[in-house]
């Protein structure tokens, strides 16, 4: 009973905060509304014994939203909190797609005859997850690792203002490098 009340409170909070993301005028407020939505979902995951995934969701999303708030302030030249303006396009089509999507998904969730539960959760779900990713599911983590490294490299390459071609020319033969501020010891 208490679990149901807690879930509905968290569910309503998550959806309300999600709606607030696109309703508030301030970009910073929108970012923190999204963080609240993620924290509510992370707490809801804790209700179903997903301790590790729930905590990871909360911690990761708080950090990510803090970074996102900085990006918002960096890239938005004006302060939308002081100058409210509509930043949407295709509003009507988007509402139709969202409502249609909700009806389809919620209808499916309510109408599908879900099977009964197969198996029982481990006594310690976090330990079971640890054993899985360090044992039979290690290939999954070994695949994610190079993807993460590639993401770091690609992110730096995309976001860097000057790369080796700007410094050394198209054939990479220019010496000394064309740097706005020459460094080194003058050799």
């Amino acid at each position: 009973m208490i679990e149901s009340v807690a879930f509905w409170a968290l569910g309503v909070l998550a959806v309300a905060a999600g709606i607030a993301v696109f309703r508030v005028d301030s970009m910073a407020r929108a970012t923190y509304a999204l963080a609240v939505s993620f924290v509510a979902v992370g707490a809801a995951l804790l209700l179903v014994d997903l301790h590790y995934v729930g905590i990871i969701t909360v911690l990761m999303m708080i950090m990510e939203m803090a970074i996102m708030a900085v990006y918002m302030i960096m890239f938005m030249g004006m302060n939308p909190a002081l100058m409210p303006m509509s930043m949407v396009h295709d509003h009507r089509q988007a509402v139709v797609a969202a409502v249609g999507g909700f009806v389809l998904l919620a209808g499916g969730a309510l109408l599908v005859p879900w099977p009964t539960r197969r198996g029982a959760p481990a006594a310690d779900t976090t330990a079971a997850l640890g054993e899985a990713i360090m044992g039979s599911k290690m290939l999954v983590m070994m695949t994610i690792s190079p993807v993460m490294v590639a993401t770091i490299v690609a992110g730096v390459v995309l976001a860097a203002p000057r790369g080796r071609y700007e410094r050394f020319g198209d054939d990479l033969r220019r010496r000394p490098a064309d740097d706005p501020q020459p460094g080194g010891v003058g050799r």
Partner: protein, 100 residues
């Protein structure tokens, strides 16, 4: 707390995110919509894991979804930085070269 109830909440989160991803003009706000959609996916996957097959495999799948979300955000921020640097654009409508 039933599977149906959790999936309806997850559907609501996904739909709100879909609205944001389709309607927002600011690139970072579009990314917020995508995040919200993945938020619904995480909740739905967690509920299906718990109510249908509470096996560690489901938790590993959830970790993959979270990793995919991280990659999406990192690349999105990098592209947003590149767009802002190369043409001073922060709106999706200012980067519609491939839409014609």
């Amino acid at each position: 707390m039933t599977l149906d109830a959790v999936l309806v909440v997850a559907a609501a989160l996904f739909s709100v995110g879909l609205y944001g991803a389709l309607s927002q003009q600011v690139v970072v706000m579009v990314m917020m919509g995508l995040e919200l959609m993945l938020n619904g996916v995480i909740l739905a996957a967690g509920a299906i894991w718990w109510f249908l097959a509470p096996d560690p495999t489901g938790q590993v799948l959830l970790l993959v979804v979270i990793a995919a979300m991280t990659v999406e955000m990192a690349m999105g921020f990098a592209v947003a930085t590149l767009l802002h640097r190369s043409r001073g654009a922060d709106m999706t409508d200012m980067a519609a070269d491939l839409s014609r």
